[in-house]
């Protein structure tokens, strides 16, 4: 199985900062050589006028003119023949820049180099709380959700909880085993997106991804809202601050995660273990008391039946109980965040987690049955259990506090999974490429920020009342489960390695059970809100495909090998093909425009100056000044009687290109750079407007010659 796993790993499946720089394919590489063969430089310029290695010296220059950019302690000599850009050597130049840098450092910590990727790994004992808070926290509401449906058929139906819990335990074990099988098969991160995409095709993968993305966002919003609600129930004075508090929690989670994987892990170790301990004590004390009375169940309070006990009701109860499984996905997605051997540690951690989940879930359902508890509107089952177990002492308060805390931290699992999912999607071109970028703490900052923003928007939009979003959960998650496990079935079917029948069977059971839950949840909860997911998943898939199509078109257009079907309009890809005409628009003669003219002339290419005049008289005046200067360059004046400047200039350039389509026009504009931003309002920013107008024109290169003004 291990060898099999390593084989299956696609070569580029590792999470690496180099993913932003894809390697060239063989065809492209060959084309590159052919293009190089035809490369003719028109003149052979002499040596460079400056040593580009900067003398590999150690006394680093510290340029301080870059305003908000922190100066970088660059240019330390590496063993190789290249420069290395070190950390920030000093504070940025501007006051705002310094403040931002300081706040950033305090919140996020110092930057980490790419080579510390390996260091930022999690021990199993750290990974367990980081990745399991979502999964384990759901036992706080899973049993309750199931019993709340059963009790609709009267208190007698509560007895069905035990067989259903057994069935759910089977489901948990089946899904758990399935993921255990997936991890070594995909040791570089084996989310549903990759497994379903690899084995069932792109659309299946994207559907799984869409389901997971919805799930991640909902996890954050709902968990944070529920956690804050738990706090505000205890401290009602805070109720009116619930939404700001929720946003604050999201910001804290974001900051913790921007600090990097390990730092985030440390933040979350204690509360998760506290919750585990508290719940274990509840179970131990509860079962000890039950043992003392010979495991005789207390009869539950009589509740009248609201509906008949039909199959649909049982299925609804089953699918409601299944929300306890949300979060099981986290480990297989985060395999590369483990210490080596990654897949082995991940698999072990997953095993622990499933074992704990089954124990806690089954233990809780059993204890609730033994104590004869039924769902009540005013108190959660866990709270009732706490009161029964700890009639006195601080036990009850501790249980409630740790429950509230772990609900808040459950959101953190999404902060682990979401950016990784987007990284893998972006690598395939299904998500914006910026999700490939690792921030200076080796976290996928863009993905983290995106999740925090969307979740905060959902939280604020629902005014903190996100309970109604809980039904949406199960659909997205079980869509991903079903697709992932069906994918594993296809995987084993195709490979037929040792023991494939057993493995296929395990995954097939998991897929069938998950699929059943998916259909039940989608149908039974359609009107409760599941329709949103049913609608959103195909729309998201469509969006991802659109994004992919755009990147594919772009890649085709920019590819080096065989000419693309629609070649770019600019054909010049060899120096000898470029025919220059330099155009300098001049509005008035001053130092700035003379600098642009000098720069243009110094390039040694044919040069033309253009002046746009609003009136004939002004044109004459300008030509007169031009002669006073010495008439060093050909000047063309255009009278623009409607006083527009940008339009006529752009159309004149277009006409020049039309007259001679193989020309490359270089438009050289002086750009007066003002030190203070507020003074920009006083200028027409003609340079920027011209640049925007000329963007659409092929073969027109725009060059800004900066002229810095002291104030």
């Amino acid at each position: 199985m291990e060898a099999d796993g390593d084989d299956a790993a696609p070569p580029g499946a590792a999470v690496t900062p180099s993913a932003e720089f894809p390697t060239l394919g063989d065809a492209d590489r060959a084309a590159l050589g052919r293009i190089g063969d035809h490369w003719r430089a028109p003149r052979h310029p002499g040596d460079l006028p400056v040593d580009p290695t900067l003398g590999r010296r150690d006394n680093q220059p510290r340029p301080t003119q870059l305003g908000r950019l922190a100066p970088i302690d660059m240019f330390t000599v590496a063993e190789a023949d290249e420069l290395v850009a070190g950390g920030a050597a000093a504070q940025p130049d501007s006051r705002a820049g310094r403040a931002v840098a300081r706040a950033r450092r305090a919140l996020v910590g110092p930057p980490l180099t790419s080579s510390s990727v390996a260091d930022e790994r999690m021990r199993k004992l750290v990974a367990l709380p980081v990745l399991s808070s979502d999964l384990l926290s759901s036992v706080a509401y899973g049993p309750e959700a199931m019993l709340a449906v059963l009790v609709l058929a009267g208190s007698a139906a509560l007895g069905l909880a035990l067989p259903l819990a057994a069935l759910l335990a089977v489901l948990m074990v089946a899904v758990g085993v399935s993921y255990r099988q997936t991890i070594p098969a995909y040791p570089h991160g084996a989310g549903s997106y990759i497994v379903a995409g690899d084995n069932l095709g792109r659309t299946a993968g994207l559907a799984a991804a869409a389901g997971l993305i919805l799930d991640y966002v909902l996890t954050v919003s709902v968990s944070v809202a529920a956690g804050v609600h738990a706090v505000t129930s205890a401290l009602p004075a805070l109720t009116r601050w619930a939404v700001p508090l929720g946003v604050l929690v999201i910001v804290v989670l974001l900051a913790g995660n921007l600090r990097g994987v390990r730092a985030a892990g440390n933040l979350f170790v204690l509360p998760t273990y506290a919750f585990l301990v508290a719940l274990s004590v509840v179970l131990a004390v509860g079962y000890a008391k039950a043992a003392a009375r010979g495991f005789a169940p207390v009869p539950p309070p009589a509740v009248p039946a609201a509906e008949g006990l039909g199959l649909l009701l049982v299925l609804r109860a089953f699918s409601s109980g299944a929300v306890s499984m949300t979060g099981i996905e986290a480990v297989s997605n985060a395999v590369p965040a483990f210490r080596p051997t990654e897949w082995r540690n991940a698999r072990t951690t997953l095993g622990w987690m499933v074992a704990m989940l089954v124990t806690l879930f089954a233990g809780l359902v059993g204890l609730i049955h033994l104590d004869g508890l039924a769902p009540r509107a005013d108190q959660t089952l866990l709270s009732q259990l706490g009161r029964v177990t700890f009639p006195t002492g601080p036990g009850y308060a501790i249980l409630q506090a740790t429950t509230a805390l772990i609900l808040l931290l459950a959101a953190n699992t999404a902060f682990n999974g979401f950016p990784r999912l987007l990284f893998f999607m972006a690598r395939d071109g299904h998500a914006p490429r910026r999700f490939l970028h690792m921030g200076d703490r080796l976290a996928f900052s863009n993905g983290l920020v995106a999740l925090a923003v969307v979740a905060a928007v959902v939280l604020v939009a629902f005014g903190g009342h996100t309970e109604s979003l809980i039904p949406l959960y199960a659909v997205g998650v079980f869509l991903a489960f079903t697709l992932s496990q069906s994918g594993m079935v296809a995987h084993w079917w195709r490979r037929r390695g040792g023991g494939w029948r057993r493995r296929l069977a395990v995954n097939a059971v998991g897929a069938t059970l998950s699929g059943l839950v998916l259909v039940t949840a989608a149908v039974a909860k359609f009107t409760e809100g599941a329709w949103v997911v049913v609608l959103a998943v195909p729309l998201l898939v469509l969006l991802f495909r659109r994004i992919h199509r755009h990147y594919a078109t772009l890649a085709r257009a920019l590819a080096l090998h065989p000419p693309p079907p629609a070649p770019p309009v600019e054909g010049e890809e060899l120096p000898q093909q470029v025919r220059h005409l330099v155009v300098v628009p001049v509005a008035r003669l001053n130092r700035a425009s003379l600098r642009a003219l000098a720069y243009a002339t110094s390039l040694g290419q044919p040069t033309l100056a253009v002046h746009i005049a609003p009136e004939e008289a002004e044109a004459d005046r300008f030509r007169d000044q031009w002669r006073a200067w010495g008439d060093h360059l050909r000047l063309e004046t255009i009278v623009s009687p409607y006083r527009a400047v940008i339009g006529p200039l752009a159309h004149y350039l277009a006409a020049l290109r039309a007259a001679s389509p193989d020309l490359t026009l270089t438009v050289i504009v002086p750009e007066v750079v003002l030190r203070r931003r507020r003074y920009r309002l006083l200028h027409s920013r003609a340079e920027q407007r011209l640049r925007a107008a000329l963007r659409a024109l092929p073969g027109v290169v725009v060059t800004s010659v900066p002229v810095h003004v002291p104030r």
Copy 2:
């Protein structure tokens, strides 16, 4: 007097589109020649590769690649040796562009050439309604404002209205005569800003301008709100739409004014004359009835005195009545909008206006006295007068309707004055230069839009209840009056031409009376809101001076003659001084980067390629690809272990410049141009970010080589 007027006109005082292109001074011109003498082009490039005159041909090329820019019917042969950019030849290329162009045309009309400046002049009969609606509309509330103060001392005090009206008539005549004297002295537009600035110094001019700017904005907000209020009083169902209605009126006024001077005039002729006729009929019928009873005054209803009849009360009544004079400034500011001979027509129009104002004001006060009317809370005096005069028939309704309409149109006067004032201020560098630009309908579009936006914001901020702003009016206006007339006193004193004593006396009387009203208004209404003006005027003056200082610094830095005290960092102003190093940042090798490399190489200057790698391994891979290409250019790789790209690159360039400060670095970046804006989200826009980062660096020129992608 006429000759005197022409002499006094500063040469550049005309409103001309060429004001955006100031002429060079003698010192600059001489310096230009000296610089030209040292101009050495390093190589003499041959002829231009394309005919820049485009063959002066008549078959115009119609480039259609400019998206939103409408293609321009350019290049018709002019008699002179330059091109002329004609009107739009066709619809813009993109759908959005076409829609905007069509809406614009429908709202604003076809563009007007600069040479039609002379055509866009007003006949006197058109100028009268355009410029007088503000002035004349104020008689609708001026008498009422005065009597409302007097009645505080009981109905007996109402008898003081007649002497006060006489005094105000004297004031009106004095100010009117003063402005009549100003118009020929400043035939190119003689607003308080220019007159006060010319004769009393810059600060006085700016204070007058600040007062007028506040007045113009308030005029629009208050008149529109009052007009809408009159409408909603008649049709209470519209009350809840008052604010949107007001904004709509402002938009209509803006559109009308963007259409240009003459078109706006036509829009306003009818209502103003209708108001004049309605008011004249009221006076004629009223006095006829009074004559029938032998001019015996009806005793006013008994009103108990609320305060004693002191000097302050009389002064307050006087200054309240003086609001009838707001708007008198309009004519002298708009002299150039008249047909030639401009100043003569303007003066005649002003004469008519003052005559009408005095007649209407005095007539109304007299008739109110004869009919024994006193201010009432539930009805305006004009409305009472209408009911007395027209007990039956549609006369009353017509009077009220025309009153409401002229109040709405009074706002239009501000749309005439405000952009002109800002034009003059911008020409002197006291306001942003964009206010110099005439739109394609020869209107100062930027000024019009600025006024509309600020007035709409004030209207919305006060929820349409702008009555409380009325006290602010008088202070700003009379500040401008006082400064303008004091300026004229200084003017005559300095010149001492024929009849200067008489003229000085006339202006001195006007200045003294205006000053008295100013002080009275500022003191008596200080707590009512005048403190805002007292505070805002110095702040605005400070702002204008700041703006002027910025432009002056800039002009010094860019001036051609003697080296500025703080010279720009980039010293290269002659081609032979420029030492090139071309730097091409390359992230990956594809068509886009090869095009940038080819372009860079074709310039024939020393060239260096730079690659920023996140890891050592990626750097090795890239160097390998570079060799596969043929290693045509020197490549420098920089490992950025913190994965930042822009920062290290910017600091590398800064270090190169630091190592060799006389270098001009040209950074050449490929810019992938996407057809659709929405796809930009999918790209990191490194080109823009690099450009922003490099802005602050002196001697770094950024060149974007566009690569157009079909989709």
